[in-house]
Amino acid sequence: MYRYDEFDARFVAERVAQFRSQVARRLSGELNEDQFKPLRLMNGLYLQLHAYMLRIAVPYGTLDARQLRMLAHIARRYDKGYGHFTTRQNIQFNWPRLVDVPDILADLATVEMHAIQTSGNCIRNVTADHFAGAADDEIEDPRPIAEIIRQWSSLHPEFSFLPRKFKIAVSGSAHDRAALKFHDLAVEIVRNDAGETGYRVLVGGGMGRTPYIGYVVGEFVAKQDILAFLESVMRVYNEQGRRDNLYKARIKILANSLGPDEMRRQVMVEFDEIRKSGTLDLPAAERARIDAYFAPPVFETLSDEMPADGEGFADWVKTNVSPHRAPGYAIATISLKPIGGVPGDATHEQMDALAALMDEYAIAEIRVSHEQNLVLPHVRKKDLPDIHARLMALGLATPNAGLVTDIIACPGLDYCDLANARSIPVAQAISERFADLARQHDIGELKIKISGCINACGHHHAGHIGILGVDKKGVEFYQLQLGGSGAQDASIGEILGPGFGKDEIVDAVERVIGAYLELRRGGERFLDTYRRVGIVPFKNVAYGQELHAAY
């Protein structure tokens, strides 16, 4: 993985000093809150319902054991003993004191971490396929280009005061595990007819009040041109994105109002100018230099046989172990969704124990997935039973990856100042309702995503079942959406109808799932059945009517 050199280290250290000075100026009153707020946001510091919240960047979701230990240390020393992994592969701490944040950032800097641009109207954390470098269906590891984009976008002087936040995702596989089509900009590694790899660039996807699926703005961008191309898109957005209405300020609105042809034309004008100047050329030597940081570990020659079962092992392998490109290896998903637990939370003890496990089994990296789980990308198959046993003791071996209890939920009204309703208790109640593992397997793949407000941090628009918490005259209500998908077959969920009260929502979800079980054919997943029969049968059932024989 990437290692800071003296320039990176100095950059982060200077940034820490800068923020320390900004905090001092705030406490002394030299800066008022209106002036300080954009500055603290650019360092990932929010003021939430109970306290400040610090969002720390985990670039392309990759951590090493040392960094994981530091996160545990921060949880213990400055917070309340736990952290929350987010749908953008970052980690959040919910209780830091403003006066401690400069020290937290200084501690992070010692392990090459920071909170730069995890909030604010700037380019945010670049996310990537959490199976990058390990998946057997990958063309190339997308993390080198993610790192290049990260550096290029760090304190970019022209794009730090955009109309709104800007999210970029990258993927190196046709199987989209990074939800590319719901991002402002997405970079997908593709191969052309001549066998060369380059980038397909998508623009204008997004969640929030008005979800959009992105479209192709660059069909095949040559590798040396990618930064010039991205800068071109950013420039069109910074110049023309709406500044008059907060809810229409994302690039998805501009991309939709210009349309693909006009957007491409304007991007090409900028692109031609930048390319002529050569200032953003990304030559092969530089690409190779960054690639080298992401060279995979040396894979031993090992038997590709899956070892014999331990207690619960077979169940865990079924859902939480994925194929690896090297024989004898596997990708292991560590569930942060224990039945009835808070999705995406991990205690400092769990973080430390995972770091120790990584060291013991010589697993150099751990990943954060946007589905709020952790991933060990390079695990020897023969080590899986022991690792599973260790994870079980830590409460991290719930065998539910991709199943109905593997729920994604934003922090919601329990934590977030923006929320209209709680989301975590909904996730917990659904999880407990469907706890039975046999039942979960019968249901099969079902991605439930819950957001506590229209900002959609729970990505509910991309849920097979999406749940949106709303405030109806001060009372929490929940709207159901069906048929969303964040994969390469991206779709936005369709709203079912009027919302359900908090005493009703779990029953409604159960009825909807019941309808699927009645209606499905062959090996259909929930999403497939929905796409075949449409919303009406589900709607009827959800609101208490019988399922018609016609379906």
Binding site: F11, E14, R15, P38, E158, S160, R235, N238, E239, R243
Partner: protein, 163 residues
Amino acid sequence: MPLIKEGKFIDDPFFFVPDGKAFPEEKGVIVTLARFQGEKDNLFAHRALVGVRLASNENPQVLKPDLPRLAAIVLEFPKFRDGRAFSWARMLRTRFAYQGEIRAAGDFLPDQLAFMARTGFDAFEVRQDFTLAQFHQAMTEITHPYQPSADGVKTIRELRAHK
């Protein structure tokens, strides 16, 4: 409004003339885009120093034919969140190779000064209580940038290559 240029406070050689007001006798003048477009020839004929003040939604490309004769362009920040002027400044400096003064005016934070300098601003209308020490700190907090911009300063990648 105190004006900082080349790292020090200077007397402003320009006078901003609001629309509809008469020009003063001495000094250079800065006018709005609308006024400039309406009175361009007159201004150039009778003034040694002519400048235009652009609102954040006014694209400087309309000034392209006049740039060689414009002594200054003022780019407004109506609200510090409105970051369009960073792109306008870059456009002027880089695309059009504009040599005159690019001035920042309006509501901006000291913490945006470094970004302004990088994108091509070289003059800054600051608050009454703003000091040169604060200016210097704002300009020097981050030593090396990652990405190229209008200032042509060596990026971290270029510095790496020369090690």
